[in-house]
Amino acid sequence: MNWTMPFFCLLFIGRICNAATQGETIMAEPILSIEGVSFRYPNQSDYAVQNVSFIAERGEWLAIVGHNGSGKSTIARMLIGLLRPERGAIRLFGCLLDDTTVWEVRRRVGMVFQNPDNQFVGATVEDDIAFALENNGIPRAEMVERIREAIRQVHMEPFLHHEPHRLSGGQKQRVAIAGILALRPDMIILDEATSMLDPRGREEVLETVRRLNCQQRITVLSITHDLEEAAKADRIIVMNKGEVMAEGAPEHIFRLGSKLERIGLDLPFAVKMGSRLREQGIPLRAGYFTTEELVEELWTLYSKK
């Protein structure tokens, strides 16, 4: 019976998934579900990922956070079939990820990697975006149309004929995102995609992702050790030593406070400041806030005195 399942998927993946993309509620399933997944690198006795389960809903921005070596990038690589789990199952768009479905998954899930310099093949921005379209056999007329649309979505129209390696880091990552958008993906995975950028580049990329997530309801999975970035997500999964340590909305996760610092993460500034001030006896309420909110809280306390 086992062999029929992937075969079934192969036959029907197109139909089921297309229906789901159009936002119909035929499939009540989440866009991504991971069930009891474990993974070990060759010749290693310790598990890099151990018994991890979580789901992502369609249109959600999910952040996976953890220090270097916590297993978060290993998960990303399993999601697009670059690594294969030792145990457990990964389901994307309602189908089990295996040898028969991996190509379809890769067409629908785009991944932006950490180093902006390692992911260009084209001599111009336009060629680079066209590369994946050519590989997928998109007719030329449609290709031109899709490239135009993709470059517009990342606000890089003036750079269409520029050489990718002459762009800034943030611009390079936006071109990488355009390359993915041209394939009309259902999900974008950012694997530490902003960690090598300067503050402005980082803001550019996150702003682009936020727009795509809000306006086009593209599901975003961002893998990061930057909790300021994770604060923008709908939900956060905290990884530690290959296991899920906590899961919840940002304001819920940030209540863990020093527990997050102990596993090598850095709390967003206002959260950290708030908890230090509370420790010093200034009666601020607990929770997540921005610097602006912190100033308001302090003002309220100050004027009550």
Binding site: N68, E192, D198, G264, M273, L277, E296, W299
Partner: protein
């Protein structure tokens, strides 16, 4: 070793149609023993400036004085060898420069090239591996079997092996997680004090510049935009914002609080600790009035 830039200009591909001026009219002094941060937006000339510190680039006009040496456009590269030993540069992602079979060989490579006897180079390697926070048994391993953070420490030990007087760090924590970043920055600060180094840190992190540097040099569009203590440089957030830079989060909080509460906070609030203390004092004062 004092470092002085006098009217330094650097034009890439000079005298060709592709000529591009990356630096102009740079006049700046870095005094011996100082910890100086260089900040600036991408493309502001930071990296070009940095490569002048050990003669990897020579000014197309003007002069760079490093200790007794003066580098001008007509200095022969061969004469720069002693300088390369005195100024150690840790480039971005230094772990990409590792190449030897063992960690020990990699650390010894520089000293051996400068004619240090093998026994002494090996002794040096044992001392340095501990100084960068790794244990001695790492020495016999292949550098490529280490984690990213460990590889970076080995590469830094290789730079320190030449016993530089000036240590130049180009975004040394890029790609590390928050804990790794903090450990690395604390290590450089310890080296700075213990070895009495002149440290030049190129960074995007205003927090690191505020916490560690005695002075900050702000680069903008190829020249020095400002130079002063962190307190002086971060005084005007709007002016910095106009050139695409920000002040540290702590300074932002201080300035917003001063405005909202209508008070003056005397502390520069350069670190989290300073800021907590300043706010505490603010509240203590109010309580005392009651």
């Amino acid at each position: 070793m004092d470092i002085v830039f006098e009217k330094v200009e650097h034009v890439y591909n000079a005298r060709s149609p592709l000529a591009r001026r990356a630096l102009y009219d740079v006049n700046v002094a870095i005094r011996s023993g100082a910890y100086v941060a260089i900040v600036g937006h991408t493309g502001s000339g930071k990296s070009t400036l940095l490569q002048h510190l050990n003669g990897l680039l020579q000014p197309t006009s003007g002069a760079v004085k490093i200790g007794q040496e003066t580098i001008t456009s007509n200095k022969r590269p061969k004469q720069l060898k002693p300088l390369r030993k005195k100024v150690g540069i840790v480039f971005q992602f230094p772990e990409h420069q590792l190449f030897e079979e063992t960690v020990e060989k990699d650390i010894c490579f520089g000293p051996l090239n400068f004619g240090v006897p093998e026994e002494e180079a090996k002794r040096k390697a044992r001392e340095l591996i501990q100084l960068v926070g790794l244990s001695e048994d790492v020495l016999t391993k292949s550098p490529f079997d280490l984690s990213g953070g460990q590889m970076r420490r080995v590469a830094i030990a290789g730079v320190l092996a030449l016993e530089p007087e000036v240590l130049v760090l180009d975004e040394p924590t890029a790609g590390l997680d928050p804990r790794g970043r903090k450990e690395m920055m604390e290590m450089f600060y310890r080296l700075h004090r213990e070895k009495q180094l002149t440290t030049v840190l190129v960074t995007h992190s205003m927090e690191d510049a505020a916490r560690y540097a005695d002075e900050i040099i702000v680069m903008h569009e190829g020249t020095v935009w400002g130079h002063g203590t962190p307190e002086e440089m971060f005084r005007d957030a709007d002016k910095l914002a106009a050139i695409g830079l920000s002040v540290p989060e702590t300074v932002k909080l201080k300035q917003q609080l001063e405005k909202r509460l209508g008070v003056v906070i005397p502390s520069p609030c350069l670190t989290l600790e300073q800021t907590v203390e300043a706010i505490q004092q603010l509240f203590a004062k109010v309580s005392a009035h009651e």
